[in-house]
């Protein structure tokens, strides 16, 4: 058994920032990640970091834009924490050597981005995430922080009190991908989940193959609710054949969207008369699909993004990476022809419910980055707001886990007296646990809080049994088949446009996936680098996460942010200024709601009509 003060799971932007912060707060911190840190998907982020750095801009404008962008489902204390801290955290990155693009006077460059009232997106070419990831990993190397790379975390070692608010997380159980050894990692002070997004629940996604919602699923089964999972961002400009992302920076620099008739539809068809291409992402994604649906798509599938008029010099200076991506993954030369683009799953606004300090309702369990929901993004994330979330809330989670006092949070977590139960759900199938694969949310210790070692040992034992069962089974279904079915169900029915009947169909199909998973087996008999085994476990996580997305999409009968419902074409503020929370409840999920916090430090953010 390994032992550290703080264990950070995942080594992308949020995880690296949390580890550095915990280390600086004096903790013995270790990172456990299924990928080597520089392989993390933060590296694929292109656009930039929103930070109010310039004269004439200020954090309150950033906060306002973010609240509006969230369609008033962001929690003001979280949004304001982000906006206030982003400038100095961005400058901190600059001091760590991050190669930001520069202006003539030597200051860092900033550009316009969708939904922003000021050009405050700080960037490093069109490869900002790559530089952010490498810069922070360099700082981890500098500090000698221990990294267990290619260790796949399977489970949290959590006690099993009836009320998740009373539970305690004592560490994690992981297996060494290279050797197949399963070991416990005891965390004396806290576990920080920084496992990224669940994009692999969909089949057309900008997300990496590794984005399988592992942290979401583990925290969920350990008792921390998942929040606002129905809010999935579909990025308006992904390449049609692969889902590779074309940065919003292209539109920020002046790129134009055209339909098959050569119309600049964002204006000509009235989707966003003021902001056009730079409307919020949800608005642009729906506009594109509406164009395609009305017969004005190119090849009935996509629209064109044209940046030729920007000129080669400007493109090479600020968007060079886009030229490479379009050439390598779509065979298109962005200097001489428009690029084909369509919406692709990109980001999960929801996630593991945490407060401003990154804490879940389970003691000692934290989450930060895309896997967490503070909530900064509410119903829709603005471009350029994901990277500041990583550095601001990654740092806070790391510091708090290491024992620093960050003050009492304003955001509450877990089931409590401020929540409202869902009462009217008409579910087509029973969600939740289906039987054989007891992938173990919590250590079965008979309700008695055992010592930390005991909880770890039991969780390790459960994990070993689970792996043996998957490996020993001689035949059955392979995970790839189940995963493909799940991805198709989500893409067909829980996409940009959602109907009640469609979402119900998705829930039925997800249930089928669960049942088929009871018969899953791992064909590769080797303990050495068994990616078949790893993907089989990931697929179980994807099923749990996809189900919460569909459940949220079904119960929220309104249209807010990225969540569009055919039968409910208006935002219902009377009823729905609240977060959807789904709790695993030991295999019988329940749904409840917590009111959104619109009261900021100096003002209350009154919901207004959101137009761009």
């Amino acid at each position: 058994m390994y032992e550290h003060d703080v264990i950070v799971v995942g080594a992308g932007g949020a995880g690296l920032r949390a580890a550095i912060a915990a280390h600086e707060a004096g903790a013995d911190v270790a990172m456990v990640s299924k990928l080597h840190p520089v392989r993390s998907h933060t590296g694929a982020a292109e656009g930039g970091i929103n930070a109010a750095l310039q004269e004439g801009d200020d954090w309150e404008l950033h906060a306002y834009d973010t609240m509006k962008g969230s369609d008033y489902l962001g929690d003001a204390p979280a949004v304001e924490t982000l906006a206030k801290n982003s400038p100095k955290e961005t400058i901190n990155l600059e001091h760590w050597g991050m190669p930001f693009s520069r202006e003539e006077d030597g200051t860092v460059s900033q550009r316009p981005f969708g939904g922003l009232s000021y050009p405050r997106t700080t960037y490093a070419g069109a490869e900002t995430g790559h530089h952010l990831l490498h810069t922070m990993y360099e700082q981890v190397v500098k500090r000698g922080i221990q990294v267990y790379d290619e260790w796949y975390v399977m489970n949290l070692a959590t006690t099993d009190e009836a009320d998740p608010n009373d539970r305690e997380c004592h560490g994690v159980v992981a297996y060494d991908v290279q050797s197949g050894n399963i070991e416990g990692f005891k965390a004396n002070q806290g576990v920080v989940l920084a496992t990224g997004g669940p994009g692999q629940a969909f089949d057309h996604t900008t997300n990496a193959v590794s984005c399988t919602g592992d942290g979401h699923a583990m925290a969920y089964r350990a008792g921390a609710p998942l929040e606002d999972m129905e809010f999935i961002q579909f990025h308006p400009t992904s390449l049609p054949s692969t889902g590779v992302l074309i940065s919003e920076g292209v539109r920020g620099e002046g790129g134009i969207l055209y339909n098959s008739e050569g119309e600049r539809f964002m204006f000509e068809h009235g989707y966003a008369n003021n902001s056009g291409e730079l409307a919020s992402r949800d608005v642009v994604a729906r506009a594109e699909l509406t164009e395609v649906g009305e017969g004005r798509g190119v090849e009935d599938e996509y629209v064109h993004l044209d940046m030729r008029h920007l000129g080669e010099e400007r493109i090479m200076d600020r968007l060079e990476n886009i030229l490479h991506l379009a050439e390598d993954f779509e065979g298109v030369d962005g200097l001489v022809e428009p690029m084909p683009v369509k919406p692709g799953q990109h980001y999960a606004m929801g996630g593991i419910e945490v407060d401003e300090n990154g804490q879940t309702c389970v003691n000692g369990l934290y989450a930060a980055g895309e896997c967490a929901c503070v909530s900064v993004h509410g119903g829709n994330r603005l471009g350029g707001n994901a990277l500041p979330e990583l550095i601001v809330f990654g740092k806070r989670a790391g510091r708090h886990a290491a024992g620093e006092d960050l003050g009492d949070p304003e955001i509450r977590t877990g089931y409590g007296d401020d929540v409202e139960d869902e009462t009217e759900t008409d579910l087509p199938v029973t969600p939740g646990d289906a039987g054989v694969d007891t992938s173990g949310g919590v250590a079965a210790d008979g309700g008695v809080t055992a010592d930390a070692e005991g909880v770890l040992e039991r969780t390790v034992e459960t994990a070993r049994q689970r792996v043996d069962r998957l490996m020993d089974k001689e035949d059955g279904v392979q995970h790839a088949e189940i995963r493909a079915k799940l991805q198709k169900a989500m893409t067909d029915y829980v996409n940009v446009f959602r109907t009640e009947e469609g979402v119900k169909k998705a829930l039925r199909l997800i249930r089928e996936c669960r049942q088929e998973y009871q018969d899953v087996y791992v064909d590769d008999p080797s303990r050495t680098f068994n990616t078949d085994l790893q993907q089989t476990i990931e697929t179980r996580n994807l099923i749990d996460v996809a189900e919460t997305i569909a459940l949220g999409a079904l119960v929220r009968d309104e249209f807010r942010g990225a969540h569009w419902r055919k039968e409910h074409q208006e935002r219902k503020d009377e009823e729905w200024l609240k977060h959807t929370l789904i709790s695993w409840d030991d295999g019988e999920p329940s749904i409840f709601y917590r009111p959104v916090i619109l009261e900021g430090e100096n003002k209350t953010y009154e919901p207004k009509e959101r137009s761009y």
Binding site: H36, V38, R39, S40, H41, G43, A44, L53, K88, E89, I91, N92, E94, H95, W96, G97, P99, F100, S101, R102, E103, E104, D105, G106, T107, V108, G125, E127, H130, H131, H134, E138, Q139, V141, K142, A208, V209, S241, G243, V244, L245, H324, L325, F329, E330, G331, Q478, A480, A484, V522, D523, D524, P525, S526, R527, T528, F529, N530, T531, D532
Partner: protein, 290 residues
């Protein structure tokens, strides 16, 4: 372990992909094919066809795989199919034990550098229609094979860490008190290419010097050091310290400017030029060198 395996007899590929999981050992006598000239024509030719790939297999603990071999797969061609797409298809449809690293699918995570038709390439950004068939896919040479296409990267990471790859400012003030430093656009441009490295290991694998001298820092690590040494934000003293690391026995002077690293770099980093420039810097600083 060497990845240069004996060549079993060649055999005809069956047309029906369903017939065909792994049938091995079988490899061909192809001679490390080059690129096909007319891409569009080749692509059109492949529509509706299958692509023949031969994939290196090895697993130290599985009977039948302890001796390295090549497995043949016939993968239905789709427009835009990359080498990574092909091995993923083979894994998901024919043999779930086929093992390789991959993640982002867009040439930024650097996980999937393979030895494809005799050259180090990123699987995800190599169009299969550009390659001679059968496409021969092997792990990176000069690194220990863990299993199938997965190589041990520890030595690569160790070399990267040797050059102290981090900003060295020891007196960085608390975050609250930090002020933005200035950097000219020209200086930023100077380090731009070096900062694109994705740690895929292709350069190191292609380098004859690195193959013969295990302690040689190698092109990736030297390029990483270049990024810092050329950045005006670090002060002169630290630059000298960096040059001292670089001009040690197994540093820049080992490079014999064969340009193999530059040729294989999937991010087009002028690695050899960067190494040469650092040699000049070392001379300029009048530092003792080997």
């Amino acid at each position: 372990m060497s990845t240069q395996q004996a060549e079993p007899e060649s055999q005809e590929a069956p047309d029906d992909p369903a017939m065909n999981g792994a049938e091995s050992p079988a490899a061909d006598e192809q001679t490390g094919g080059g690129m096909v000239d007319d891409h569009a024509e080749k692509r059109a030719e492949l529509e509706g066809e299958t692509v023949h790939i031969k994939v290196f297999r090895y697993d130290p603990e599985v009977e039948g795989k302890q001796e390295p071999r090549f497995d043949d797969f016939h993968v239905p061609f789709e427009k835009g199919m990359t080498v990574l797409d092909a091995v993923m298809y083979a894994r998901d449809e024919y043999d779930s034990s086929l093992t390789f690293r991959h993640s982002c699918r867009q040439a930024v995570c650097g996980s999937d550098a393979f030895f494809v038709n005799g050259k180090q390439r990123l699987g995800c950004k190599t169009q299969i229609s550009d390659l001679e068939q059968p496409v021969r896919i092997e792990p990176l040479p000069h690194q220990e094979v863990v299993k199938d296409l997965v190589v041990d990267m520890d030595h690569f990471y160790d070399q990267m860490h040797t050059v102290e790859p981090y900003f060295q400012d020891e007196d960085t003030p608390a975050t609250e008190d930090l002020e933005e430093q200035r950097q000219t656009p020209e200086n930023r441009e100077k380090i731009k290419m070096s900062s694109r490295c994705i740690w895929c290991g292709a350069c190191m694998s292609s380098c004859n010097i690195a193959a013969g001298d295990n302690e040689y820092l190698g092109p990736a690590a030297i390029n990483k050091a270049y990024k810092f040494a050329m950045d005006d934000r670090e002060d002169e003293q630290i630059k000298e310290h960096r040059l001292r690391i670089l001009e040690q026995e197994h540093g820049v002077w080992r490079c014999q400017t064969q340009f193999s690293c530059t040729e294989v770099c999937p991010k087009d980093i002028p690695l050899t030029e960067h190494i040469q420039e650092l040699k000049r810097e070392a001379v300029k600083k009048n530092l003792k060198f080997w």
